[in-house]
Amino acid sequence: MASTELAPGEVVAPPSRAAPPKIRREQIQRQYARLGWTFAAPALAVVGIVTIAPILFAIFMSFEKVNVTSAGFSFSGATLSNYHTMVTAGLWHHALWWTTLYTVVTVAVEMVIGTIFALVLERLTAGRGLMMALLLIPWSLITVISAELWSYIYNASYGILNGLWPNALGTPFSATVALMVADAWKTTPFVTIIVLAGLVMIPRELFEAAEVDGASGWKTFWRITLPLLRPTIGIAVLFRVLQAFGLFDLPYVLTNGGPGTSTQSLAILAYNTMFTNIDFGPGAAVAVSTAVIVVIMCLVFLRAFKQQVGSEEVPA
């Protein structure tokens, strides 16, 4: 960091002062650094105490025997049994596999539909503001409400989709697809907004040049639009994948993990282990495993992204 960039006070020091300007500048610099930490400290303390510390404590808990009594929690000795329970019970394998499958399919579907929507809206000359306002409603909708709404739409005796798709939540496969449809409805607008923002950033001249060269619309899309959208799509995929992997609200309300435990996500498994079975050790183990997978995915993504886009696109 160049000091010239960071010294807001340097102009104040006139050359006629008793102290040499350089020393004064350093003094002010130090004073501002101290002020900087004072200003940043409350926010960083809250974030540290409420997010970082609990994650570290969850790791500790996942390696402890956790006893829950009416008096509260106590810990009695290090153990690997929580992870042993988690891996051998079978539910974790299924939840991991199911959450991964769900994430991959929903994000892929949402990206494709969202990109198509964005391409349509980009060509819209009038009313784009209205469409944007419309797209924000599902984004801001409480997921629990969307889940109740879709459970009514799928209802086996009076749901409006009953004629087309009877008993949508009845089998594991059908229930998974039903969840994906509900998810795509709520989240595709988010993808559309992001992709549209990337789309309007592409210089118009490129499309005009392609048109002059006689390139077909299809060819223009694959050769110009898509490659230039790649950073935008990469960010959208990253956000969606990380969000989808922590999936809880939608299946908790819409299928309650059922039929049976077939649509139980990792977060639902962790929640039920803790609050239904009152098993906080294994519950913490499942929660930690989810977090570890998210961190690994995040690092892999960032690496792939850096390689693809090149360093000039990465924030300074």
């Binding site: 807001p8 004072t38 974030v47 409420v50 909708l141 009514y152 929640y271 998210v294």
Partner: protein, 278 residues
């Protein structure tokens, strides 16, 4: 796109217009179904085949939602969301200013850690926070949600505000300093007014996140239910009171949808901050 020569069926069908209608229907049909069902009588909500239009219009579901305690849920959500937003903005402005403009060492690792934290799954903090809150007796209190919501929304707020603070011209700040204004006064009187768009973005995002959050509200605050937990726990074991669900849903959706539509510029700049700024 200007006068492109169109042939065949494309001459008769305007793709952007037709496509936009399809998109609008995609978004609106489920929302219409929610609105329509909220105005049906108890018997008509579960009519088979379903009634396409709520005729006659009945408001009994709205009465039922309130007699099931919906007024209290709104109050709880409002208190939690408002307090979280106020805290996020106060702490976020201080930190964003500091990390954007003051010579703080170790800025870069701090900013990257904040970015990582903002994508962490909520379930990772639920076990520890539950144990901690039960130990200090915070379960079923407002602060049990205000504090986590503040912490989870601060990283995004700090990032957004830092970017706005970085964009302010240096001369403004310097002239304030020459006039003898202290650091705090410079921040409040000169800097803050210039980052209002960032404040709106961070504020609307925090309020929306607090209004919609479910997992922590379900885990820590079952006695002081916010709207999502309240709606999810409506009804008895064998009856699903869809009418009351949808009446409550409409009432919970209207204010937040109005908020994001009024501040739609701030919202879309926040949504696209990641993709446009890198």
């Amino acid at each position: 796109m200007s006068m492109r020569f169109q042939h065949g069926w494309r001459r008769w069908v305007n793709i952007p217009t037709v496509g936009s209608v399809v998109i609008a229907l995609f978004v609106l049909l489920p929302l219409y179904w929610m609105l329509a069902s909220s105005f049906k009588s108890q018997g008509n909500v579960s009519a088979s085949p379903p009634q396409l239009f709520p005729i006659p219009i009945a408001t009994s579901s709205y009465n039922q939602a309130f007699s099931d305690g919906f007024g209290g849920f709104i109050l709880n959500s409002f208190v939690v969301a408002t307090c979280s937003t106020a805290l996020v903005l106060t702490l976020g402005i201080l930190a964003g200013y500091s990390l954007g403009r003051l010579p703080v060492r170790g800025k870069y690792p701090v900013m990257v850690s904040l970015l990582m934290i903002s994508v962490f799954p909520t379930i990772a903090v639920v076990p520890s926070l539950y144990v901690a809150m039960r130990t200090i007796g915070w379960l079923n209190t407002y602060q049990a949600l205000i504090l986590p919501y503040t912490a989870f929304n601060l990283p995004f707020a700090i990032w957004i505000l830092r970017n706005y603070f970085l964009g302010i011209s240096r001369s403004m700040e310097e002239s304030a300093r020459i006039d003898g204004a202290g650091a705090v006064r410079t921040l409040v009187q000169i800097m803050v007014p210039q980052v209002t768009p960032g404040i709106f973005t961070a504020g609307v995002f925090t309020f929306t996140a607090a209004w919609t959050e479910f997992l922590m509200a379900l885990s820590f605050d079952f006695g002081k239910k916010t709207i999502p937990v309240g709606i999810a726990s409506f009804g008895a074991q064998f009856t699903v009171p869809y009418g009351a669900y949808f009446a409550a849903s409409v009432l919970a959706t209207v204010p937040i949808a109005a908020l994001v539509i009024i501040f739609r510029k701030a919202v879309s700049s926040g949504l696209t901050a990641g993709s446009v700024k890198g």
